[in-house]
Symmetry: C2
Subunit: 349 residues, 2 copies
């Protein structure tokens, strides 16, 4: 391990497998389907582990992610995004639908028309519900209108979905989970319809009213990250992915690491204590990130490790950290056991 | 252009060339060397344009960036970073030094020892000065001590350098440029030494006291970005790189674009008005980024473009946006004229 050039991303295989098993058990206990979001890991090896553990299929964010996971044998893909489909994207979706069941999000009549015009009935759609995150999706009362427009365009509406992203806030996690259940229930009732009702994010998954959904789509849970720890959703011991960095500079009360925003990602929620956390130094704070520098302020009385020492950092948001790496180094009990390619890195369209 | 799947990064070649020529002229007017930081663009084609316009060599952040630009024929490379050098990195540096002049940063005796032990005299060093950014580097008064340690280790100290990163603040830009000049002058005097004195960032380059330096290392200026515009360093018309995105969802006063943090990067300075700017809508604000969504709040009275429309976004920080892309689409007068590979994408070690 110590011969690998830093910075790099390291995955603890035992923690990863425990995370996968735990979320599978949670879904199983509530008899709901688990369709993990693969944008978090973008790795074929991890997708296979999730499917082997009982996931019904994968969630992805883009057509190119869907193409990569379909080529690896995943036959059930939900692109949880209100795609705009032009001729080229339509041709790709039709090709994809030859090897997998493909569903897409829609949240407007215009969007549904673009799907129908260019992808036709090769794909099915799911109406996106805004449960309070106020990103894409429509209010529950507008779901029947979007569903009707999609059906008029000739599409099959298979269900509804939401992402309770406003649950990424320690003060609103429980509230967001409640709003998620409420919005999905209202939308399903107004549709009068028994299809797929899909919710669930990593911080809300354990709080979601399992009676209101029949599918969840958490992503981050495979690795977890500093955000999940600071949200109170998981413990540091549940974090399977860390950046391994070298101390390159130090002064009183401070050290500089060689893992910056081009390794950790620059995501920082307003409530976060910094730009990541150090598992070995819970009271240290990553106060600033440059592209190749992390500035770490040490708690009083803790001397900075010597220059050349290696330390590990939990990224704030693991999805964006993984997307910066070409590969993940897989370890078990401190030894390297594998290297996984981030197969869908940069697959944004 | 309209057939390319969004989101993608687009470079306006005429603006790029004007930016390159303008910075070359600024350095020339002051008879100082220009050594552009290639971490911004990571493209061989742009490095060649900078060298053809008179740059004395390139600045890079990592050994792997240096390797990529050396393989493309650049023979003068400064790794502006206090590298920790182990046996493997030392071997790479010695190999690199067979084809190029290679200089590295140092800011500690331990760091200098690691360079001497593993890279030996194949490389030269530059002492990093902290001019107020408080990242790596030492105070001007400590520069002689680090230089002496490097010389005791057998290294040749060729100069001093600083990065006035605290100039990335509209309220401190001029002050940071003044502190940069002051710190470099003080360090050079205390060394009693006529070597390379290297400073300069994009927002401070035009404000730096040219009599205090003999080299500048701006990077962002080739493209510029929303940060430079909001800093007042450049105009929107000077921004050569934009993300092209599609409107995928809209509601009253708001639209959602398909370029999120995995395209634009999540960098946001505390004083920034949002997560990027729209050149065509100066009063619109990118209020939130998810991985594949940008939430844009429109000014009152401006209707959201229809779903499926394409809009362009200036990233906040172009260096991190470029590092997310595999290639840049090069346009001239609205037509595609080339595609450049981001050759050093992800070259973090």
């Amino acid at each position: 391990v110590n011969d690998l050039p830093t910075p790099y991303l390291s995955v603890d295989l035992d923690v990863l497998d425990r995370n996968i098993a735990r979320m599978a058990a949670l879904a199983d206990d509530h008899s709901i389907a688990l369709r993990p979001h693969a944008k978090t890991h973008k790795c074929l090896e991890i997708a296979r582990r999730q499917l082997d553990a009982g996931a019904v299929g994968l969630t992805v964010a883009t057509v190119s992610e869907a193409e990569i996971f379909a080529a690896a044998g995943c036959t059930d893909l939900f692109i949880a995004y209100p795609l705009w489909v032009d001729a080229a994207r339509g041709a790709r979706l039709r090709k994809l639908a030859e090897v997998a069941t493909v569903r897409l999000g829609v949240d407007s009549g215009d969007g549904a028309d673009s799907v129908a015009r260019h992808a036709g009935t090769a794909v099915e759609v799911m109406v996106e519900v805004d449960s309070g995150h106020h990103r894409s999706g429509v209010a529950p009362r507008s779901v029947p209108e979007v569903a009707a427009a999609a059906e008029r365009a000739g599409l099959t509406v298979r269900g509804i979905f939401t992402f309770p992203g406003h649950g990424y806030d320690p003060a609103r996690r429980a509230e967001a989970a409640a709003e998620e259940s409420g919005a999905l229930r209202k939308a399903a009732q107004s549709l009068g319809f028994a299809g797929i009702v899909s919710g669930g994010s990593t911080p809300t998954a354990a709080l979601t009213d399992a009676a209101a959904v029949n599918e969840i789509r958490p992503g981050v849970y495979v690795f977890n990250d500093a955000q999940q720890v600071e949200l109170g959703a998981y413990e540091a011991a549940d974090v399977a992915l860390t950046a391994v960095a070298t101390v390159v500079s130090r002064s009183d009360g401070r050290m500089i690491l060689d893992a910056g925003s081009k390794v950790l990602g620059a995501d920082r929620q307003p409530w976060a204590t910094g730009f990541g956390r150090l598992p070995a130094m819970p009271d240290a704070r990553v106060t600033a990130l440059s592209e190749h520098h992390a500035t770490v302020v040490l708690p009083p009385g803790i001397p900075a490790p010597s220059v050349g020492s290696r330390v590990t950092v939990m990224p704030n948001h693991v999805c964006t950290a993984v997307n910066l790496a070409d590969e993940l180094v897989v370890t078990q009990a401190g030894s390297i056991v594998d290297t996984w390619r981030v197969a869908a890195r940069g697959a944004n369209s």
